[in-house]
């Protein structure tokens, strides 16, 4: 998809060519007794594709609505491109939203929907720009239709076109793919990402789908109970979660409680139910006392007990469950003193273990991460399961 000349020219006219920085400072939003967003600080750099990821009720949509101006923060301030917009109304902000329900105007044609924002701002050549954006989302042939005559995927694109045609400083997407079926969703994820790179706007994407957030965004902020738990590039978040919630919500994790016993310079050794586990100091939030150590299921290698190499990071146990999924096999292994650990093993022709087999789990120390032992190891599991 290529940006047409008309759309490109109009971009030149706008002052915010690459979108604008968005900064939320100590934002709190209370609804009666309920704190939806709790003292949130967030900076989204211009031109980035930023995802707010979290379970329902974590405050991500409320945050988005405050940026859009549809909700007033109880305290704190919001600035866009260095300008404080906290007290301005929605219609005065250089921000557009793709609503979860699309919220297309049912009494207007697709074209009139798309041209709506431009007309309100009395933009010259509004019609040409609207046509160009409809072309960008490949809907130029449906401009005369009413939204009700379109499929879900087409409506989604109209909603997107209606927002990006205005070249907002920040584009807000509120679960924009939530209503689409899985196949269409994957396809639209790719298209959205591409459009974002084409138009170069700052996108803030709210979603509860961790895969969607990781596929599309440059930066993901994981939200829980009105706060940002952790923020970073998808790979960094997955590789080195800082809280059990992030470890469990973003992919799966085996979290094991242990006590640090030795300081070995770069690494610390800990005792977990009689097993010796190593963690790099740079990969743990706490280096003394009790900790939670985490290993991702796919980082675990499952070996027959007799094949066990020498060294640390070995957990002996018995296979309690095996499920074959084609490309991979998932095992549950009971480790005495620790409990059940999940193992995710790519099927590459190796011998598979059977239920009841004595096995040993080994992994590279570089893949262990350590979390504060005071935290709840189960945090985020339930939230991830209900999605």
């Amino acid at each position: 998809m290529v940006l047409t000349d008309a759309a490109r020219d109009s971009r030149m006219e706008t002052s915010e060519d690459r979108g604008a920085d968005l900064r939320l400072s100590s934002i709190t939003k209370r609804f009666d007794d309920f704190v939806a967003v709790d003292n949130l600080d967030l900076t989204v750099p211009a031109g980035s594709f930023f995802a707010l990821l979290g379970p329902s009720g974590c405050g991500k949509t409320t945050t988005l609505r405050m940026v859009a101006g549809l909700e007033r923060p109880t305290s704190g301030s919001i600035s866009i491109g260095g300008q404080d917009v906290t007290k301005t109304s929605a219609y005065e902000r250089p921000v557009n939203t793709v609503f979860q329900s699309y919220a297309l105007f049912p009494h207007m044609s697709v074209f009139d929907n798309v041209v709506f924002g431009l007309k309100r701002r009395k933009v010259k050549d509004a019609a040409a720009q609207a046509k160009a954006v409809l072309e960008l989302v490949e809907l130029s042939h449906l401009g005369a239709r009413r939204p009700a005559q379109l499929s879900g995927g087409q409506q989604q694109r109209v909603a997107l076109a209606r927002a990006i045609v205005n070249h907002p400083a920040v584009l807000l997407l509120d679960e924009p793919l939530g209503a689409l079926d899985m196949k269409l969703r994957r396809q639209m994820q790719g298209e959205l990402k591409k459009i974002q790179m084409d138009v170069g706007l700052t996108f803030i994407h709210v979603t509860h789908d961790q895969e969607e957030a990781m596929t599309m965004a440059d930066t993901v902020a994981v939200m829980n109970a009105g706060r940002v738990e952790q923020m970073g590039a998808p790979r960094d978040l997955y590789d080195l979660p800082k809280t059990p919630f992030v470890a469990n919500f973003l992919g799966k994790s085996n979290l094991v409680a242990g006590t640090i016993t030795e300081d070995l310079g770069d690494t610390v050794a800990l005792n977990a139910g009689g097993n010796r586990i190593m963690v790099h100091k740079s990969r743990t939030t706490s280096t003394v006392g009790s900790v939670l150590v985490g290993i991702r299921p796919e980082k675990l290698q499952i070996l027959h007990a007799s094949d066990a190499p020498a060294g640390p990071n070995q957990l002996r146990g018995r296979v309690s469950d095996v499920s074959f999924t084609g490309v991979s096999t998932e095992y549950l292994v009971d480790i005495p003193g620790i409990g059940a650990l999940g193992v995710f093993s790519q099927n590459r022709g190796q011998d598979s273990a059977e239920r009841g087999d004595e096995v040993v789990l080994v992994w590279d120390t570089a893949h262990t991460f350590g979390l504060a032992g005071t935290e709840d190891a189960l945090s985020g599991i339930e939230e991830a399961a209900v999605l």
Binding site: G69, L70, A90, Y91, N96, F105, H107, N166
Partner: protein, 324 residues
């Protein structure tokens, strides 16, 4: 084929024609009784409208024809009062039009002003209850009951009450005189103003309720989308709320304007029998006092056709596909 699939086939079978029947074997196993039941079902709809059809035929279509016939009757020379002979005297229409065109125009004028006033009062009321108080169920219920409450008292009584409200010694009149909006010797009772007030008041629920019904369905997320797209409150109302509530506005204005143009009680009770006379009053007096049946019928017919013409023009101009 499963039982479920067979049933579905039967339901959609009517549209499928012969080809569908032949391909789908289970169709062949339907008993003659089932076939007959299907046929009965398809004719059921016609039987259901029969009572309504007979009712309309007896109490609307026949009376209209009888009215049309009466409007062309003639009064034979030397006949008693109220005695007429069947004829085709089209001049009846010309005569009543010549005599009462002013009352006809005035009726439409009053009805138009009352409709506009009811719209200006009723729309904000409906908007408040349907949109602003959407999540306040108790308050919304109470206000809805208050809108409908006037229906629980008689039309005549309510109109009579307006006579008191606008009487010379009433609070309203003295208050208006105190702030010099009304001259010292000015009065409201027995004026055109009083008649229009009565009409507006009496037909207000007919305006408010249809608008309420359409605003109640309004998706408020569309209003958010509109403000997100640089519309202030006024533009959002003009571009989104109003167009989406047009079916209600159309229904409300028609339900107000049509009965208001033919109304005679408000003019009779609140007017002055001179410059506030409406066509309904004229028809009433031609029928019951002057006993001029052809004249009254001709006027009724003219009123009916005029309303039909005005409404057609109005719907053509502002109508929405959703309504008709």
């Amino acid at each position: 084929m499963s039982l479920l699939a067979t049933r579905r086939q039967q339901q959609t079978g009517a549209g499928k024609g012969k080809n569908g029947r032949k391909r789908n074997k289970p169709e062949d196993f339907r008993s003659p009784g089932e076939v007959a039941a299907d046929k009965r079902k398809s004719h059921m709809g016609y039987w259901l409208i029969l009572p309504g059809f007979i009712f309309m035929l007896l109490f609307f279509v026949l009376p209209v024809f009888s009215l049309l016939a009466t409007s062309l009757y003639t009064k034979p020379p030397g006949a008693d009062i109220g005695q007429f002979a069947p004829a085709l005297q089209f001049s009846n229409y010309a005569v009543v039009l010549q005599d009462y065109w002013a009352e006809l125009i005035r009726s439409f004028g009053f009805a138009l002003i009352a409709t506009v006033a009811a719209l200006l009062i009723g729309y904000p009321m409906a908007y408040l209850v349907a949109v602003r108080l959407r999540h306040r169920n108790l308050l919304r219920g109470i206000l809805l009951v208050l809108i409908i409450a006037p229906f629980f008292t008689s039309f005549i009584l309510r109109t009579q009450a307006w006579k008191q409200i606008l009487a010379d010694e009433s609070l309203v009149v003295s208050a208006l005189q105190a702030v010099a909006l009304l001259p010292e010797d000015g009065r409201l009772t027995a004026t055109a103003f009083a008649v229009v007030c009565g009409l507006t008041y009496n037909f207000l629920p007919f305006m408010t309720l249809p608008i309420y019904a359409s605003l109640e369905r309004l998706d408020t997320r569309l209003l958010e989308a509109s403000s997100d797209l640089y519309s202030n409150a006024f533009t959002t109302f003009r571009r989104v709320t109003l167009p989406l509530s047009m079916p209600g506005v159309m229904a409300g204005t028609l339900l107000t304007f049509i009965p208001a143009s033919g109304d005679y009680i408000n003019a009779a009770l609140l007017g002055n029998n001179q410059d506030t006379t409406m066509i309904g009053q004229v028809i009433d007096s031609r029928f019951f006092r002057v006993v001029d049946y052809p004249g009254a019928s001709a006027l009724s017919f003219i009123l009916m056709l005029a309303i039909l013409a005005l409404v057609t023009l109005y719907v053509r101009r502002f109508g929405t596909k959703e309504l008709i």
